[in-house]
């Protein structure tokens, strides 16, 4: 590759003039394997899903979408997925917000240790996480038995929407803390003093100064948590196999279940899920552009 030694002769002019792309065609070849593997295992399968979602028995049709939207069963799947995702993201975010604010105020060594610990906790997810919860809070779990003996359990069951939300919240917390705490570095300590000097209360400081500054990070984190929860499958599947009605569980049982394989219906459900995630990301971008940092 001699082109860049030519560039040395006249570095300024080379940088100003746009180098024609074809001069680097040999270097561009190195990008091909990446694109090829990505096409084979991600882009083409996604394209297959999008195309086949609008096909019924080989003909173009929106029939599957009509079927999904008209079916109380599939509407319930979306309802459950949304409910669990929103609540687990919201709760996880709230806990992470309070923790991240405090994390900025403790000594360096304690902070490093906590971050390392949080990192570790984020490894407990999917099937192992569901099993850990079954062990402690399942029908015969030690905590369940203990709480039942003390009579404080009520009608809580791990194998329900509340139970799933609990598990989801657990895997959202470490993620949210790790994503959020760097954002709090943007807060200048002097601002709080200045605000106090001007007569602002602690609450006013948070509402009017600190929160608007960290808002883009908070929104971005929420979107990521939400998308993560909407697409999650392993924990719910490990907990209840296909017996709980979530979008991802429905999709998998339509392509890998034992009876009634309907890949095109699965594709339509998938397309709706992708659309939902894309809308969330787009709204997030829109809000980001209008927020504090963009100004």
């Amino acid at each position: 590759m001699r082109s860049s030694s030519n560039a040395l002769a006249a570095p300024v002019s080379v940088r100003m003039v746009r180098i024609p792309r074809f001069r680097h065609w040999r270097a561009a070849l190195l990008l091909l394997p990446l694109l090829l593997v990505l096409m084979l295992f991600s882009l083409v399968p996604t394209l297959w899903v999008l195309i086949n979602s609008v096909k019924v028995d080989g003909l173009w049709s929106a029939g599957h979408f009509v079927e999904i939207l008209g079916s109380p069963f599939y509407r319930q799947a979306f309802g459950n997925s949304l409910w669990i995702s929103v609540w687990s993201s919201f709760t996880g975010l709230l806990i992470a917000l309070v923790s991240a604010a405090s994390l900025k105020r403790v000594d360096g060594s304690l902070r490093d240790m906590t971050v390392a610990f949080t990192n570790m906790a984020s490894n407990l997810s999917g099937v192992p996480l569901a099993f850990a919860f079954i062990i402690i809070m399942g029908a015969n779990g030690a905590v369940t038995l203990l709480l039942r003996e003390w009579g404080v359990l009520g009608d809580f069951s791990l194998y329900s929407r509340a139970g799933l939300t609990l598990i989801y919240t657990y895997f959202q917390i470490p993620l949210a803390v790790l994503l959020l705490y760097p954002a709090f570095d943007a807060l200048d300590d002097d601002w709080q003093d200045s605000a106090a000097l001007l007569g602002a209360s602690r609450l006013q400081y948070w509402r009017l100064i600190a929160l608007p500054v960290v808002m883009p990070a908070v929104l971005g984190t929420f979107i990521l948590l939400f998308a993560n929860a909407m697409g999650a499958y392993a924990s719910a599947y490990a907990l209840m196999t296909s017996n709980y009605n979530l979008v991802t569980i429905r999709i998998s049982s339509l392509v890998a279940g034992e009876i009634f394989l309907e890949p095109n219906l699965a594709a339509a459900l998938s397309a709706l899920l992708i659309a939902l995630l894309v809308i969330m990301v787009a709204v997030n971008q829109l809000l980001l552009n209008r927020s504090y940092h963009a100004r």
Binding site: A27, L34, S42, P45, W48, S102, P128, G231, A234
Partner: protein, 256 residues
């Protein structure tokens, strides 16, 4: 002073909250029997002894290790040159790489499995049920982390000036890349490799939907053990957890 106490309490609360399931599972895996009492009846190592003598577990663990390491070698060979080419020759492509990576986040594994199952079930590439399909899919999981880490490293370097200097001293582009650029991005690369490794080792969705027990991996093994003793499964969970813990510990040490 009161504020400091409050912040410490919050952080301690966070640690306690996150450690409850881990500690309970750990204790459960060491206990002989644990009923409706605060503490278990007796401690034992039997569950671990049984587990680590189970050939099916060892095979599944071996499969997971093999697939994860193979994926990371394969990914390194493909992604490192590509990231270098993007930053050295086509810096504007970085933006498009960012969009390609975003696609990986908008399409959950369950969704791409729907397409993968149809495309590779038979036809010219019958990959379903073989470890090869997992290596391809795991590449798409590792790509965002590895590319981001490499891009951060390359952004911090002045790639063009470093390469020009190396050329001036008579190095070819290849040897300049190998001896100048690579040592500078090695740290970020290693950290992202270990991070990806800890995800891939326990991956369940692709492994279960595309391959299942035809090439059983760790998480599929764990799932199939769900009806056995909770003490035994918690020994599986803790063995897996401790292993990834070691790996992430190395990753954080390397990224310092």
């Amino acid at each position: 002073m009161r504020a400091k106490y409050y912040h410490r309490c919050v952080v301690a609360g966070l640690i306690a909250l996150l450690s409850i399931p881990v500690l309970a599972t750990l204790l459960y895996s060491f206990s002989r029997h644990w009923g409706a009492t605060v503490l278990p009846d007796g401690l034992t190592l039997d569950w671990y002894v049984t587990l680590w003598q189970d050939p099916r577990f060892l095979t599944a663990f071996g499969h997971s290790l093999l697939i994860s390491v193979a994926t990371l070698l394969f990914s390194t060979l493909i992604i490192v040159p590509a990231a270098f080419v993007v930053f050295y020759y086509f810096p504007k492509l970085d933006h498009w790489m960012g969009i390609l990576i975003l696609v990986q986040f908008a399409v959950p594994p369950v969704v791409s499995s729907v397409g993968l199952l149809q495309i590779y079930a038979d036809g010219p590439l019958p990959l379903i049920g073989t470890p090869w399909v997992l290596i391809g899919c795991y590449f798409t999981i590792a790509l965002p982390f590895m590319y981001r880490a490499l891009a951060n490293g390359l952004q911090g370097l002045n790639v063009r000036d470093l390469m020009d200097a190396a050329h001036l001293l008579g190095a070819s582009t290849f040897s300049a890349f190998l001896r100048v650029i690579l040592p500078n991005i090695r740290k970020g690369l290693m950290a992202s490799l270990f991070l990806s490794f800890s995800f891939l080792l326990g991956e369940f969705v692709f492994a279960n939907m595309l391959v299942g027990n035809r090439y059983e991996t760790l998480s599929v093994y764990l799932y199939s053990m769900r009806s056995t003793s909770g003490h035994f499964t918690s020994a599986v969970v803790m063995s897996y957890f401790m292993f990834t813990l070691g790996v992430t510990w190395i990753a954080t040490r390397l990224s310092r």
